[in-house]
């Protein structure tokens, strides 16, 4: 189809083939080629199709836009007024964790001020912006032709409101809401931060960005009824600021417990020379989070000044780790639930157990001979746990893993939760050896909150709940209270009670954890950290301890996790000690009497029943 004989690059009409090439600049000269109609038509059709896509997009925004926003739940974001303050975030006792206040930008318009008026303006404005009269006059004269000159970037409400009340355009005051976190570092990972463009990122600020921007506003610059809402008290009483219905979040976090958790974690990290760590404290009564602390953390008031933006990511819900022996609780729960073991069943604990071409050993590479199931959990024996898992069977084991909530997000009201990695049988990456490895928490990745929540299910008679840290959402008059929300039953109440008793044994035999007078249920875990090219390295560990107390009537579920502690790589030492410190603090804060006194004080209802 190439026309090697024609003058034209386009196909020639037969009758024009003999026409000689005309001189190049002759008027209306032509090489009379047949024009490429089809190809140009294709180009036009291409433009047309692209145009149709744009028409569709424009119709989507401009004809359906407002409805679309309502559907996508971002109506509030669409009508955001740059002057509106964001809603506040408060702890369970009403202490503010995040608030808006106003800063006033004071500007002059030297160009609009008559030359003779400059001294008078300087005299009146100088004391308000904290400058001397002569300095201000010099500054105004130097910028005589400028349309604006910033005199004070962030003045307080007294100065700002005073200038606003003058109502002149030569010296103006512009209020701008500024986000403020009164507690600084406290609960930073949970809160997130608000950037200069007033967009919330990470944590609650990111997750509830649309909600926290107030939804309803009256016209700007009008005297109007005062705003209401819990955070409004922090705002200046001004006729110039917009009125609004504020939307606040009340959390289940307890400022005091959160502070205690952060301080003890910080001390433990310093003492054990760890790289980081996490503490989660859940209320066993309603499955709400009382504290969620991680280190290293950041100050949301100064979010721009961090060395590495990775620090914004909340390790408690977004960073995966291999839980190690704490995960044995799931294996034992499955075994008890399916009647494979009782606490007294005996097993032969050998030096090595080979399963699926993988050699399983205990931490000290020594077998213990004949042991009971309880002893296996107390001494955290990998060999026996793997044998139990094999006896439980592949399907029943992984079903239990899912029922405890692993491999799926917990649904806590935070931004960026990770679901964890659970390799399931039948998928390409799963090998039979994984069953034995997973039984003691290696080769499986979870988040600290998932692990804490699974332990909370044992404390709650076997029912898995959705953990929550939102107590109330306040939208003007409308208050939505978050209730505890059961997801499903993981194990029977009997299994939960049996497992709790075994956990009490385990905790009692951990000297760093055991506390005279209090029955604590818990389990330690030391997981080796797999490195990409070396596999598991003995010296790099993540140590953790998860448990609850009092064992007979759980009030607090606690998980502590330390990353790469240097002094001792075993959880029974460092994580156990941190766990015990937190338990001691909680006992003090909530005045929990020792078990004997508490149970003695309670009326013995069972003996009174006939």
């Amino acid at each position: 189809m190439s026309n090697t004989q024609g003058n034209s690059i386009f196909r020639l009409r037969p009758e024009t083939l003999q026409t000689a090439t005309p001189p190049p600049l002759a008027p209306l000269a032509t090489d009379r080629g047949e024009k490429p109609y089809n190809r140009i038509l294709i180009v036009l059709i291409g433009f047309g199709l692209m145009g149709l896509v744009l028409v569709a997009q424009l119709v989507r925004y401009q004809a359906l836009g407002k409805r679309y926003q309502v559907l996508s739940g971002s109506a509030a974001a669409a009508t955001v007024d740059p002057l509106l303050p964001r809603g506040g975030i408060f702890d369970r006792n009403g202490n503010p964790l995040a608030l808006d206040s106003y800063a006033y930008e004071i500007k002059a318009a030297p160009k609009e001020i008559a030359e003779k008026d400059l001294p008078a303006v300087a005299r009146r404005v100088a004391p308000l912006v904290g400058k001397s009269e002569s300095a201000l006059l010099a500054e105004l004269e130097a910028h005589k032709t400028s349309p604006y000159l910033v005199l004070h970037a962030g003045a307080g409400p007294e100065v700002g409101e005073e200038i606003l009340s003058w109502g002149v355009y030569t010296v103006t005051s512009t209020p701008k809401p500024v986000r403020y976190y009164p507690e600084g570092y406290l609960f930073a990972h949970g809160l997130g931060f608000v950037n200069r463009e007033r967009v919330g990122f990470y944590g609650l600020e990111g997750r509830f960005d649309g909600f926290l921007r107030a939804s309803t506003t009256t016209t700007r610059w009008q005297a109007a009824p005062q705003p209401h809402g819990a955070a409004a008290a922090a705002l200046p009483d001004s006729p110039f600021l917009p009125t609004f219905v504020q939307q606040d979040l009340i959390l289940t976090i307890d400022r005091v417990i959160q502070h205690m958790a952060e301080e003890t974690l910080r001390a433990a990290i310093a003492e054990y020379k760890a790289e980081g760590g996490t503490v989660i404290i859940l209320s066993a009564a309603d499955h709400s989070l009382l504290a969620m602390a991680s280190a290293p953390d950041f100050n949301p008031n100064d979010y721009g000044n961090v060395a590495d933006i990775e620090v914004f990511v909340n390790p408690a819900i977004s960073k995966l780790y291999e839980p190690g022996s704490v995960f044995k609780l799931v294996t034992f729960a499955a075994a008890l639930e399916h009647g494979v073991i009782t606490p007294q069943s005996t097993f032969l604990d050998e030096d090595e157990f080979v399963y699926g071409e993988r050699v399983i050993q205990n931490w000290d590479k020594k077998g213990r001979g004949e042991v009971t199931a309880t002893e296996a959990l107390v001494q955290s024996l990998n060999v026996t746990t793997a044998k139990i898992a094999v006896e439980v069977g592949r399907d029943a084991f992984y079903k239990m893993v899912r029922r405890f909530g692993f491999g799926q997000i917990t649904g806590v009201e935070l931004f960026g939760e990770a679901p964890g990695i659970v390799k399931m049988p039948g998928k390409g990456s799963w090998y039979p050896a994984d069953l034995a490895m997973n039984s003691f928490g290696q080769g499986i990745s979870v988040t600290p909150l998932q692990m804490a929540n699974a332990v909370a299910a044992i404390a709650a008679d076997g029912v898995l709940y959705r953990p929550h840290l939102l107590h109330q959402m306040i939208d003007g008059e409308k208050v939505t209270t978050v209730e505890p929300q059961p997801i499903s039953r993981a194990i029977s109440a009997e299994t939960a009670a049996t497992l709790t008793a075994m956990m009490v044994e385990a905790a009692a035999n951990t000297p760093t954890v055991a506390l005279p007078g209090y029955a604590i249920a818990g389990k330690s875990g030391t997981a080796q950290i797999p490195l990409p090219d070396q596999g598991y390295v003995d010296d790099l560990t993540i140590t953790s301890f998860a448990g609850f107390f009092p064992a007979d009537d759980p009030q607090f579920v606690i998980l502590v996790k330390l990353v790469r502690p240097q002094n001792s790589r075993w959880a029974t030492w460092n994580a156990g000690a941190l766990f015990q410190t937190i338990v001691r603090h909680l006992i003090q804060l909530h005045s929990i009497p020792p078990d004997a006194i508490r149970l003695g004080l309670q009326p013995d209802t069972e003996s009174e029943t006939p």
């Binding site: 209306l28 047309g48 424009l58 925004y61 836009g65 996508s72 971002s74």
Partner: protein, 420 residues
């Protein structure tokens, strides 16, 4: 219908008749007028806050438009075939400018793109000269175009050389636009389908590499993917403002000059790259569809000029100019509607900008010259026909007394009563 034997004879001789494309000229006038109104409306608040003069940008744009129209008339009066002979010198000059801007240009918006305080962007003129050069090159290669070694390979090398200079600024969006235009020209010039496929593949790979190694580009692609799903929650502040402006506009708009998002600090680049969002907010869906319709009509007229051009060079040149302006408009609108990754291309005839206005109007001038089949000098008789096409004199006639309504009022004596 009057029969004009001379025209018919001429048409017979040439296969087509060649007279200035008046609908295209009227369309251009409409686009320029519409664009100037929008530049004023979009820029006055921003201009007042930043310079103290609300007319700052508008007046500059008026001056550039006047210069542009002069340049357009000049281009219109130059036989387009002379560009073919000048293609190489123009190209060398352009490459020189591009190299110069890399060496001494200023950094603005994170890229080195211009001379003289933002009023000279050589890559705007590069668009015109590259199109001229490619049209000349493709015409001279004619028969051998379908061979890989003779057609595609030199074409790719040529294009790669020119585009890489612009990528280096870095101005990825202009490079993309030039590549797209060149590929369309190559395709219409008679490239085999496999060549078009290969070229697209090569272009895709090149931009893949650029995007992989440029954090600037990568970030924008990521934001785009996030945005296309839920444009209302994009983290790109610029895009969010633009979309909210469109949504605020609704079907009928807020009314000319009533945009809220243009008020600083609001929509960034409000009178340049984002001006379409202001059109959408002030004139609504009706206004934004009108802009699309005007550009589609431009595409149709431009392609018509290409098909009726007296020679291959004219066809390719008209095609190239039309493709450039229409694609640039479509990409700009696609960016503002979150249909395309964020990039800074101005909307032709609307966006504020000296070099782009000048370059666009030069391109249009060449296109208009092709529509009248080349020929030097301005055909004055064509102008007189245009102004007097209805055959009536334009002088006001006091005896006829203006509009029918006024005549009626005058006859009934209502004027006299009004004065009492």
């Amino acid at each position: 219908m009057s029969i004009r034997p001379a025209r018919i004879a001429q048409a017979k001789e040439n296969g087509l008749n060649h007279s200035l494309d008046y609908p295209l000229l009227i369309l251009i006038a409409a686009l320029i007028g519409f664009g100037l109104i929008m530049v004023f409306s979009a820029s006055y608040a921003f201009a007042y806050v930043n310079t103290g003069n609300a007319l700052h940008f508008f007046l500059r744009q008026v001056i550039w438009t006047v210069l542009g129209v002069i340049a357009m008339l000049a281009a219109l009066s130059i036989d387009y075939r002379s560009w073919r002979a000048l293609a190489l010198p123009i190209m060398i000059f352009t490459i020189g400018l591009l190299v110069l801007v890399l060496i001494i240009g200023q950094v603005r918006f994170g890229a080195v793109r211009q001379f003289f305080e933002g009023s000279g962007q050589p890559s705007e003129f590069a668009k015109v000269s590259i199109i001229i050069y490619i049209a000349a090159w493709l015409t001279s290669r004619k028969q051998n175009l379908t061979q890989i070694s003779y057609g595609l390979a030199p074409f790719a090398v040529l294009l790669g050389l020119m585009v890489s200079l612009i990528v280096a600024q870095p101005d990825i969006s202009t490079s993309m636009l030039i590549t797209l235009t060149a590929v369309v020209m190559f395709f219409v010039a008679g490239a085999a389908w496999i060549q078009v496929g290969l070229t697209l593949l090569l272009a895709g790979l090149t931009f893949g590499v650029v995007i992989t190694f440029s954090a600037h580009a990568q970030e924008r692609i990521q934001i785009f993917l996030q945005t296309i799903v839920n444009p209302f929650n994009t983290t790109n502040f610029h895009l969010r403002e633009a979309i909210y402006a469109l949504v605020e506009g609704g079907v009928f708009g807020q009314g000319l000059a009533n945009s809220v998002h243009k008020q600083p600090p609001g929509l960034p680049a409000v009178h340049s790259d984002s001006i379409f969002a202001v059109v959408g907010e002030e004139l609504g869906l009706i206004g934004s569809l009108l802009v699309l319709a005007l550009f589609f009509f431009f595409a149709y007229r431009g392609m018509r000029v290409a098909l009726r051009a007296p020679d291959d060079f004219g066809t390719l040149l008209a095609l190239g100019i039309t493709t450039w302006l229409v694609s640039q408009a479509l990409i700009n609108i696609a960016v503002i509607t979150a249909t395309f990754p964020f990039t800074g291309l101005p909307l032709p005839f609307f966006s504020y900008g000296g070099s782009s206005t000048l370059a666009n109007l030069i391109g249009v001038g060449i296109l208009l010259n092709i529509s009248r089949g080349g020929g030097g000098g301005i055909d004055l008789s064509a102008y007189s026909r245009f102004w007097r096409r209805d055959g009536r004199t334009r002088l006001s006639d006091p005896d006829r007394g203006g509009s029918p309504a006024r005549r009626r009022r005058a006859a009934s004596g209502s004027y006299a009563r009004d004065r009492d």
